[in-house]
């Protein structure tokens, strides 16, 4: 089943890029694409564990707020003179712990992930605003700022995506993730350590938020409590666009990668060509609808054929 979504996305992407080449040749240049891609990595990094969580039938709404709290932790440590060599790993560990907190509520206390992460989405953002007094913390050394310009964010995402693809398709842990999303009770009785798997995934999500926070702070030269706002929706959209089922049990890394690139290119192209930043808000929703509709047309014909036989 999942192969078809990836083909749909590939075709859409090809059509988009061909259209872009016709209308704005410069948009398709290596130079332009390299520069524009610098803004994708933090979302891409966060979307990978989001895919795994959604495959288990869960969701993580707190990613944007986790990014903010992790970024603020970095900023406050840096402001107090802590070396970035300690502050950066420290802020990533804090993010992983925040993720593990979500995981603990979901896995051990069995609270619905939507409720848990809705609560922590508000709480983490609130703490970030409170401890930073909502002021921006800037002034990082150039060496740190360069990190976001270089290939490192892309390498981080590449490593994360490839590892996850292997885990998902070739390991027992990967089969557990799919099994939990397909039939949780059955997998529990078949000996899948459901709680442990979930705890790990939410912690990994937090960890990825920590990485994304570092990329964002380095690129903006600023840690502020309002960063990463709305990131959860973009990440969930990319995952669903990539063919994952929101009910769980289904989803793939190639689909996600294509979904991310399609969202990114469509957004950038619309803003580039029509020069109206507010159009960005419409793009994602339309894209999701178009993708789903494109797949509906052949499916319904097939259903019709089945009905005739």
């Amino acid at each position: 089943m999942s192969w078809r979504r990836e083909w749909t996305l590939t075709v859409l992407l090809a059509v988009l890029m061909a259209g872009a080449f016709g209308l704005e040749p410069r948009f398709v240049s290596v130079k332009a694409q390299t520069l524009l891609f610098t803004h994708l990595w933090e979302l891409a990094v966060v979307a990978v564990p989001m895919l795994l969580i959604i495959i288990t039938g869960g969701i993580d709404l707190s990613v944007g707020s986790t990014i903010a709290l992790s970024a603020i932790s970095l900023g406050l440590m840096f402001e107090r003179g802590v070396s970035l060599l300690i502050a950066v790993p420290g802020a990533i560990v804090i993010a992983a712990l925040l993720g593990a907190t979500n995981g603990w509520f979901v896995a051990r206390l069995k609270v619905h992930p939507l409720l848990v992460t809705l609560a922590t989405m508000a709480a983490f953002r609130g703490i970030a605003e409170g401890i930073s007094l909502a002021r921006p913390i800037s002034g990082y050394p150039d060496g740190f700022l360069q990190v976001a310009q270089g290939p490192l964010p892309a390498i981080i995402f590449g490593g994360l995506a490839i590892t996850t693809h292997i885990v998902l398709t070739r390991t027992v842990f990967g089969r557990w993730i799919v099994a939990i999303g397909t039939e949780e009770t059955v997998s529990r009785f078949s000996g899948v350590p459901v709680a442990r798997v979930k705890l790990v995934l939410y912690a990994v999500s937090g960890f990825a938020c920590g990485l994304a926070a570092m990329i964002l702070v380095a690129r903006n030269n600023t840690a502020k409590a309002d960063i990463g706002m709305g990131m959860e929706l973009d990440a969930i959209t990319a995952v669903v666009l990539g063919g994952a089922s929101i009910q769980g049990g289904k989803g793939s890394i190639p689909g996600l990668v294509l979904g991310l690139i399609l969202i990114h290119e469509t957004r950038e192209f619309v803003s580039w060509h029509w020069k109206q930043n507010e159009l960005n808000l419409i793009v994602i929703g339309s894209l999701l609808l178009v993708t789903v509709l494109l797949e509906r047309i052949p499916t319904r014909r097939k259903l019709g054929e089945i009905a005739q036989h």
Binding site: P25, V30, Q149, R219, T222, M229, S252, V257, S271, E278
Partner: protein, 346 residues
């Protein structure tokens, strides 16, 4: 099948890239950065970035900018900015304009620290960058289009207060409700207000209090000031947040026309207080002229007629404008009163 699509992706990207190489060569003159003098008089593309798109203040600036672009006839103007005011979104736009290869970008930075690196990237790509409305790190831009000097603002505030209180012979205590005690803009203005005050020997500055950009605090601070200084006749509320706070306190104390308040704000924000008679004068620079001048400055910067060492700039209907070091000065403030405030909608 999953692997197939993984393989397709690089192919697709490679396809896109290779086709670009051809496009690059075919449109070579367009892509190669020409030196500024070569662009003289030719059609250019200019991007104008507000702090926040869709707010009346910046919309009114953009109207002036469009007027100038139309008048010049050889400036294609892009006016775009984050509707959320999010500086990270502004960075995306600057990067996009850099990739597009526009000729000049004029930025009103919401957060200079965030926008600075993107502005420097644009400059490294050969794009002219200037700031308008608010400044950023001087290394990230060539010129600032400066709406008004602190001296002009300070003088206008004191003169308006004196006029409201009865002219040169005005007497009474006055106080300042500022943003925060560390706000650099406000502190500059206060410095010049203090040197202007001796022109009106009847006025005595008794206190300078912070409002920390909190309207409620501005409200209670104004109440406290009126209680502490019974001879208080005037309040300078010199941030857009403290101005309505102070006006509300005076209105609720029933002291309209007895205690005067003036400050900087947009006409729409203060219109009701002006029409009720609580506020007599609202000071601001001419926002339309600010957008207008920014486009002329951008054009001159690309043409090479505005460069380091320039002292004047020809700006259409505004005439010759002064250039002081790396600041293009708009100069002049406008005062909104009961008689004219209805004519302004921003």
């Amino acid at each position: 099948m999953k692997l197939t699509s993984l393989l397709i992706l690089p192919c697709l990207l490679a396809l896109g890239c290779s086709s670009t190489e051809t496009s690059k060569t075919s449109s070579a003159p367009d892509v190669t950065k020409t030196s500024s003098s070569d662009k003289g008089g030719k059609k250019i593309t200019m991007a104008l970035l507000p702090k926040k798109k869709g707010v009346p203040y910046f919309t009114s600036c953009s109207e002036g900018a469009q007027e100038a672009a139309k008048e010049l006839g050889n400036v294609e103007l892009i006016y775009d900015g984050p509707t959320s005011g999010d500086p990270a979104e502004a960075v995306k736009l600057i990067d996009q304009w850099t990739a597009q290869g526009v000729d000049v970008i004029a930025v009103s930075p919401n957060d200079p620290a965030v926008l600075g690196p993107a502005m420097k990237r644009a400059r490294a790509a050969g794009i002219k960058v200037l700031t308008w409305d608010a400044d950023a790190d001087p290394a990230s831009r060539e010129f600032l289009v400066n709406q008004a000097t602190p001296e002009e603002i300070g003088n206008s505030l004191v003169d308006a207060m004196a006029k409201d209180m009865g002219g040169d012979k005005a007497t009474g205590d006055v106080a300042i409700v500022t943003a925060s005690l560390t706000a650099s803009n406000q502190n500059e203005w206060i410095k010049f207000m203090k040197s202007r005050l001796p022109k009106y020997p009847g006025l005595h500055l008794v206190a300078t209090k912070p409002s920390n950009e909190d309207q409620k605090l501005a409200f209670s601070t104004t109440q406290d000031l009126m209680n502490a200084y019974p001879n208080l006749k005037g309040i300078f509320a010199i941030s857009s947040v403290s101005f309505p706070g102070a006006a509300e306190a005076i209105k609720q104390a029933g002291k309209s026309g007895k205690v005067f308040v003036t400050g900087l704000s947009t006409p729409n924000d203060m219109k009701s207080y002006v029409q009720q008679g609580v506020v007599k004068s609202v000071i601001l620079w001419n926002t339309k002229d600010l957008g207008y001048l920014t486009v002329y400055a951008a054009r001159a910067l690309v043409d090479g007629t505005l460069k380091a060492g320039s002292t004047t700039l020809k700006a259409g209907r505004l005439g010759d404008k002064n250039v002081v070091k790396d600041n293009v000065m708009l100069g002049g403030t406008i005062t909104f009163t009961k008689d004219n405030i209805a004519n302004f909608n921003f």
